[in-house]
C-alpha cells in the first residue's frame, strides 16, 4: 500500500489528464452501447404506450435473441481483429441439418447435436485456414459463406424441410419462469462469454492477439490455438442460432440467415467493438443487438417506414465507428 502511494502521488500531481484516460478505459471496453440502449428504451417508452408491455417485450426478446447469439460469436472473432462473414450461411446450414435429421427420425437431442457439429466443422475449417494457412479472415469466411449456403441449397433442393414435431418447436417458442426460452439462452450465452472474456486466460489471450499477434506470440500466447478456438466458437454459436431459428419457425429453411452476418457485425460495432481488434465486450455486443432490434420494434410500433429505419441503423454504425476512431486519436495524442 505504501508502494502504491509512492507510485501514484507524483504521477497524479504531474499529469492530471492521465486520470481522465484511466476513467475512459474502464468504461471504454464494454458499456458505450448500454447507455445508448437505455436512451432508446426511455424514448420509446415515452413515445408509445405499447412499447413497455410484456407482450411486446417478449416479442422483442424473440426478435433479438438469435441475431444476438451469433453477434456474440462474431464479437470473439472481431476481438482478434478478424471477421466471420460465414455465420449467416452456417446458421442456415445447421438449421437444415437439424431439421433433416429430425425428419429422418433421429432423436431431437442427437439432431441438435448434429446441427451444432456442422457449425463446429465450419468454424474449424475457417480457423485452420486463418491461423495456420494465414489467409485473410475476410476471404476465408467469404468463401465459407458461399460454400455453406451452396451446400444447404444443394442438399435441400432449395425446399423447406418440415414440418417439425412439437417437441422441437417448443424449444424456441416456449417460456421459462414467464420469460421466453430464447431470451434465457441469449442471456446465458452473453453472461458466459462476458465471464470468459473478462476472467479467463483464454479471454485475455483473445484481447492480446487482437492488440498485436506478434507481441502476443513472443509473450508465449498460443496464438494459433486461440484463433482456431475463436472461429469454432463463432461457428458453433451460428449453428445454435440456426437450430433455434428452425425450432422457432417449425422447419428448416435453406435461405434462413441471409444477411445475418452483417447484422451481427453491426451489433458488435454499435456495441463498441473495434474491427481493428482488442476493443469491445460481450455486454456491448448484446446491447448492440438489442439497440438494432429495439429500433426496429419501436419503428413498427410508431409506424415509421422500415426503409427509414435502415437509414437510421446505418447512421448509427457510422456514428459508433466515428466515436471509436475519435477516442483512439485522443488517446494517441495524449500518449505522444
Amino acid at each position: 500500500m505504501s508502494r502504491t502511494d509512492t507510485v501514484d502521488a507524483p504521477a497524479a500531481a504531474k499529469t492530471p489528464e492521465e486520470r481522465v484516460l484511466t476513467f475512459g478505459d474502464i468504461f471504454g471496453r464494454d458499456a458505450g452501447g448500454i447507455i445508448v440502449l437505455l436512451v432508446v428504451f426511455g424514448a420509446l417508452t415515452l413515445a408509445s404506450d405499447q412499447f413497455l408491455t410484456s407482450a411486446n417485450l417478449a416479442n422483442l426478446a424473440r426478435q433479438v435473441a438469435i441475431v444476438g447469439i451469433i453477434a456474440i460469436g462474431q464479437l470473439l472473432v472481431i476481438l482478434t481483429a478478424g471477421i466471420d462473414l460465414s455465420v449467416g450461411s452456417v446458421l442456415g446450414l445447421a438449421g437444415c441439418v437439424t431439421a433433416e435429421l429430425i425428419v429422418h427420425g433421429v432423436p431431437i437431442p442427437l439432431a441438435i447435436l448434429g446441427g451444432l457439429l456442422t457449425g463446429v466443422v465450419c468454424g474449424l475449417v475457417n480457423g485452420i485456414l486463418v491461423a495456420y494457412a494465414q489467409l485473410p479472415a475476410f476471404i476465408v469466411t467469404l468463401g465459407m459463406l458461399g460454400i455453406a449456403r451452396g451446400v444447404v441449397l444443394v442438399f435441400t433442393d432449395a425446399a423447406t424441410i418440415g414440418p417439425l414435431p412439437n417437441g422441437f418447436t417448443t424449444i424456441a417458442n416456449g417460456t421459462l419462469l414467464g420469460l421466453p426460452n430464447l431470451l434465457w439462452l441469449f442471456a446465458a450465452v452473453t453472461v458466459v462469454t462476458a465471464f470468459v472474456l473478462r476472467r479467463t486466460t483464454f479471454g485475455r489471450y483473445v484481447y492480446a492477439i487482437g492488440s498485436n499477434p506478434e507481441s502476443a506470440r513472443l509473450a508465449g500466447v498460443p496464438v494459433r490455438t486461440v484463433l482456431v478456438t475463436v472461429y469454432v466458437i463463432s461457428g458453433t454459436l451460428a449453428a445454435l442460432g440456426g437450430v433455434l431459428l428452425a425450432s422457432r419457425l417449425g422447419g428448416g429453411n435453406p435461405t434462413a440467415g441471409i444477411g445475418y452476418e452483417l447484422n451481427a457485425i453491426a451489433a458488435c460495432v454499435i456495441g463498441g467493438a473495434s474491427l481493428f481488434g482488442a476493443k469491445g465486450g460481450a455486454f456491448g455486443a448484446a446491447a448492440g443487438a438489442l439497440i438494432v432490434a429495439t429500433l426496429n420494434n419501436g419503428g413498427n410500433l410508431l409506424n415509421v417506414n422500415a426503409f427509414y429505419l435502415q437509414i437510421i441503423i446505418g447512421l448509427l454504425i457510422l456514428v459508433a465507428v466515428f466515436f471509436d476512431q475519435w477516442q483512439g486519436r485522443l488517446a494517441g495524442g495524449r500518449a505522444g
Partner: protein, 526 residues
C-alpha cells in the same frame, strides 16, 4: 580515388552549407551546433556511431525535419526551413537506405511516380516508356525493359533504379544513406564506381555508411559526429582505419553502469551448434548464472536474429538450446517462455507491447497460466504480482488500468520487464534495452539489469551502443555476418577492438592492413 577533387579551403565554394545546426527531440539533443560543407565534385563521408546524429543531419538536409537553429544555404542562397519538395527543387536528392520503390509496379511507373506523363489525367504510355529509358541509360541499365515489375529485380539493380529515379530530378547533391547494406561485395564495388562517376560529373555526394572501408575507398573528405556534436571535418587521407574509429568513439564510459559485484555460477543457458536458415555456420555460446553477456556487432550482423532464433521466434535449422540442463524444443516462443527464457524486443511497439491493453494486462500476459485456476485468472494474485514487480520498478503511471500506449518509452520498457520478472525467467534477453529511453530511465534500466544478474539470472544484452555493451557486460560476443566473430572479456574489451572484430573489412586493405585483426578472431592482442 581519382586525382580530381583538388584541395580547397573549408570556407570556399561549398555548394551546400550548414552552419551551427541544432535539433532536439524533447530532452534529447540529436544535433548540437553542427557544420557541414558539401562541394561539387567531391564525395563527402559522414561518420559516427549509432546515435551520433547522422540520420538527423540527413533529415535536416532533405527537409524531412525542421532544424531548431542554424543556417542552411544551397549555392549561396539561404534555404530557410525547406519542405522535402523545396529541398528537392533546390537540388538535394537522397537515395534511401530502405528502398522506396513500389515492388508490384513497373520500373517506369516507379521512376516517374508522382509526375507520370499524362494528358488530362490519362497516362501516355509511350512517353512514359521513352523517359524511363533515358533515365535508365544514365545508370547503364538501358538493356532493362522498363515494363518489368520491380519485384523481379535483384536488390543491386533496385538500388540502381532508385538512383536513376533520384537522378531524374536533376539533383546537384546526392545523399547516399547506407546504400550497401543489402549488397554483396561485387555489387558494392560496382555501386562505388558508379558513385565516383557521378562525382566526376560534378555532383556533390554525401556518403553515409557503417563500413569504414567504403569510406576510405570513395571518400574525399569526412565529417565526424559524436553524440550529436561536430568533432572534425578533414580530408579522408588524414585518417587511417584506427584513427577514424578513435575519433568516432573518443568517449570515456560514464559510470551509469552498475558496479559488478556478482558471482558467476553454473551455466544457465547453453546454445550449441545453432544454425539459422540462410546463414552458413553455427553459433555456440553459454550464459552463466549471475553473468551479463553483451552481444555487439554492426547493423545487420544478426544480433537480434540470434536472440529471436534462440527464443524460438524465428526458425532454426539445427542445434540445441538448453536452459538449466533442460532441452528447449525449438521454434516456439511458448516453449521458450515455459523453459524460463524471456525476451525484451528491440521494437517494443511492434514486438512487445499490447498497446490497447492495460498496464496490468501487459505485465501479466506471459504469466497467466501460473495465476489461474481452471483457466480463470485470479485477479487478486494478478494484482499482487503486478504490484510486486511493477511497483519495484518505480513505474510512473496513475493507475495499472491505464492503456500501455499512454506510457513513455522508458516506462513501457519497465512494463515489459515486469512481464518477464513475473514469469520468474531464468535467462533474460534484452534487445536494445535503452533504445528511445531517456537518460534517467536508462540508468534505472541498467540498475535493474545488474540486479537481475546479481539475483542469479543469466542476462544477454544486445546493443548497438558500444559503451552500453562494454559498461554492462562481463563478456562480449562480437557478431559479424550472422556468426560470432570473436569473444572478449569485459576487462580486455575496448571499443576499438569490438569495432575491428565487427567490421566486415577486417581482412587487410591497402590502407589499414597493419592494423586489422585476423579474420578468425578471438586473439586480438594489441
Amino acid at each position: 580515388m581519382s586525382a580530381g577533387a583538388p584541395e580547397r579551403s573549408p570556407a570556399g565554394e561549398a555548394f551546400v552549407s550548414l552552419r551551427g545546426v541544432s535539433k532536439a527531440y524533447g530532452p534529447i539533443q540529436a544535433l548540437a551546433d553542427v557544420d557541414l560543407d558539401l562541394r561539387l565534385g567531391e564525395v563527402h563521408c559522414l561518420a559516427g556511431e549509432n546515435g551520433a546524429g547522422k540520420s538527423t543531419l540527413i533529415k535536416v538536409l532533405t527537409g524531412a525535419i525542421r532544424r531548431d537553429t542554424g543556417e542552411y544555404t544551397v549555392d549561396g542562397e539561404p534555404l530557410g526551413s525547406p519542405t522535402p519538395a523545396e529541398a528537392r527543387a533546390a537540388g538535394i536528392g537522397v537515395v534511401y537506405q530502405e528502398l522506396s520503390l513500389f515492388p508490384d509496379m513497373s520500373i517506369e511507373e516507379n521512376l516517374l511516380m508522382g509526375r507520370l506523363p499524362a494528358r488530362r489525367g490519362v497516362t501516355r504510355p509511350r512517353e512514359l516508356r521513352q523517359r524511363a529509358r533515358e533515365m535508365l541509360a544514365r545508370v547503364d541499365l538501358e538493356h532493362l525493359d522498363p515494363a518489368t515489375p520491380v519485384s523481379q529485380l535483384s536488390l543491386a539493380v533496385r538500388q540502381l533504379v532508385e538512383i536513376a529515379k533520384v537522378l531524374g530530378q536533376d539533383p546537384r547533391v546526392l545523399i547516399f544513406d547506407e546504400p550497401t547494406t543489402a549488397l554483396s561485395e561485387n555489387e558494392t564495388a560496382a555501386l562505388l564506381d558508379r558513385i565516383k562517376e557521378l562525382r566526376d560529373e560534378g555532383h556533390a555526394i554525401m556518403y553515409v555508411s557503417h563500413h569504414l572501408e567504403e569510406m576510405f575507398a570513395i571518400g574525399d573528405r569526412v565529417t565526424i559526429l559524436r553524440d550529436g556534436k561536430f568533432v572534425t571535418s578533414a580530408p579522408m587521407r588524414d585518417f587511417d582505419h584506427d584513427s577514424l574509429i578513435a575519433t568516432m568513439v573518443g568517449r570515456k564510459i560514464e559510470s551509469l553502469y552498475p558496479a559488478g559485484k556478482r558471482t558467476i555460477g553454473a551455466p544457465r543457458l547453453v546454445v550449441r551448434g545453432l544454425r539459422r536458415p540462410g546463414v552458413e555456420g553455427t553459433v555456440d555460446f553459454t550464459v552463466h548464472s549471475g553473468e551479463i553477456l553483451g552481444i555487439a556487432g554492426l547493423l545487420g550482423s544478426g544480433r537480434s536474429e540470434l536472440l529471436q532464433a534462440v527464443f524460438g521466434a524465428d526458425p532454426v535449422s539445427g542445434g540445441t538450446v538448453e536452459v538449466d540442463g533442460q532441452r528447449v524444443r525449438p521454434g516456439s516462443p511458448r516453449n521458450a517462455v515455459r523453459a524460463g527464457l524471456g525476451l525484451l524486443t528491440e521494437d517494443r511497439k511492434a514486438l512487445g507491447l499490447l498497446l490497447e491493453l492495460s498496464i496490468r494486462e501487459n505485465a501479466s500476459i506471459a504469466n497467466l497460466p501460473q495465476i489461474s485456476r481452471f483457466y480463470t485468472v485470479n485477479r487478486r494474485r494478478e494484482n499482487a504480482i503486478v504490484d510486486k514487480y511493477l511497483g519495484g520498478l518505480r513505474l510512473r503511471a496513475a493507475s495499472w488500468e491505464q492503456p500501455a500506449s499512454s506510457l513513455s518509452g522508458g516506462n513501457q520498457q519497465k512494463v515489459l520487464l515486469a512481464r518477464w520478472l513475473a514469469t520468474h525467467a531464468k535467462v533474460l534477453f534484452f534487445d536494445e534495452p535503452t533504445k528511445g529511453v531517456d537518460v534517467g530511465a536508462k540508468s534505472e534500466i541498467y540498475q535493474v539489469i545488474g540486479d537481475l544478474a546479481a539475483d542469479g539470472l543469466g542476462v544477454v544484452v544486445v546493443s548497438s551502443y558500444l559503451p552500453e555493451v562494454l559498461g554492462l557486460a562481463d563478456r562480449v560476443l562480437v557478431m559479424r555476418e550472422g556468426l560470432v566473430a570473436g569473444e572478449l572479456t569485459a576487462a580486455e574489451a575496448t571499443e576499438e577492438q569490438v569495432l575491428h572484430l565487427a567490421s566486415p573489412g577486417a581482412t587487410p586493405t591497402s590502407r589499414v592492413g597493419d592494423l586489422a585483426p585476423s579474420a578468425g578472431g578471438t586473439d586480438v592482442a594489441h
